[in-house]
Symmetry: C2
Subunit: 216 residues, 2 copies
Amino acid sequence: MSDIVLHSYFRSSTSYRARIALALKGLAYRQVTHHLRFGKHREADYLAVNPQGLVPALLWRDGTVITQSLAIIEFLDETVPEPPLLPADPKARARVRMLAQMIACDIHPVNNLRILNALKDRFGADDAAVADWFRTWVAETFAPMERLLADSSETGTFCHGDTVGLADICLVAQVANNARFAVDMAPYPTIRRIHAACMQIPAFVDAAPANQPDAE
Amino acid sequence: MSDIVLHSYFRSSTSYRARIALALKGLAYRQVTHHLRFGKHREADYLAVNPQGLVPALLWRDGTVITQSLAIIEFLDETVPEPPLLPADPKARARVRMLAQMIACDIHPVNNLRILNALKDRFGADDAAVADWFRTWVAETFAPMERLLADSSETGTFCHGDTVGLADICLVAQVANNARFAVDMAPYPTIRRIHAACMQIPAFVDAAPANQPDAE
């Protein structure tokens, strides 16, 4: 059995998700970091690992490569069942996946580095326009997410009950990303409360961008 | 038990995904359609169903609302196990989810209607610039996806072996969307072959945008 390897970048919020899941599962792993701003993820040796040239990519013990952060986390949950990152009931699982995907499909993809760079390169967007773009898509999803969380009796200390899981992982990584664009978090008291509860857990702190070997 | 209801829009590729899954599972359902171009999905009665104001949303028999197309499909797969839309082995499941999420996280979100409209409204993008934007993100993901599919012995008639599943659902909905922006499919022979194989299956044809009650 080889080491588990995570190809990552400290500031990538999808890498952050994978690091939290690995830490919650108590799995030791080695990070190979790729500096996205210098295009290190587009070099031939990394494209041989992940032809998409994105991080994170998980190299499992047997050499299997898994990309896409939510696929990585579900794989870890199916392979190392304790502690579970998804509840057992299908409707509860759907609720957790729905909350996770609101962030993973509706916020992060439109706000990641390659898209923000394309807005600058193609349309001459300046820093203010880029920041406004970022904040727009956070608000479009965080407003209904706050309502879904605040209105549901299924919300507990965390997004779903009192056990931390997949939705919390996505929430924390997004809130960390928001800070870089000074997103006003005042309208989201439930999201802030859940974020604060997560940050009491060492796995979330240890996995944070600032605590990675490639942090600047 | 009430009817299963799918809130949808004929041209929405995420609605198309949900319709294919419902059809593959042999589930009868009623569609409530929302005309996205006229903002019908942002009206109060629909926001009471889905505060995010997006389609699709599944109303299950007991009244549970599930949004996010991949959460809907995994819920259907866990609730109505036959025919399975994901393989049994965790590594195989990870491969299928990875392929599905390459489309669901890296292509669709950056190319959907609200983003294309924002490019026009905020940056004055004309039709040619919008079409080029759309094609860029398809190519960024379809090129490595073609390579992953063509190079793997796990690829069969469909994305994973000879059983149709979650990745094929996302692939077909994306290929349908591509046609609206005249994406050149010549560089993707494996994707084209899998698409053609899927379109031999009635569930994929019946769920297609052109065959919906709200098709124009």
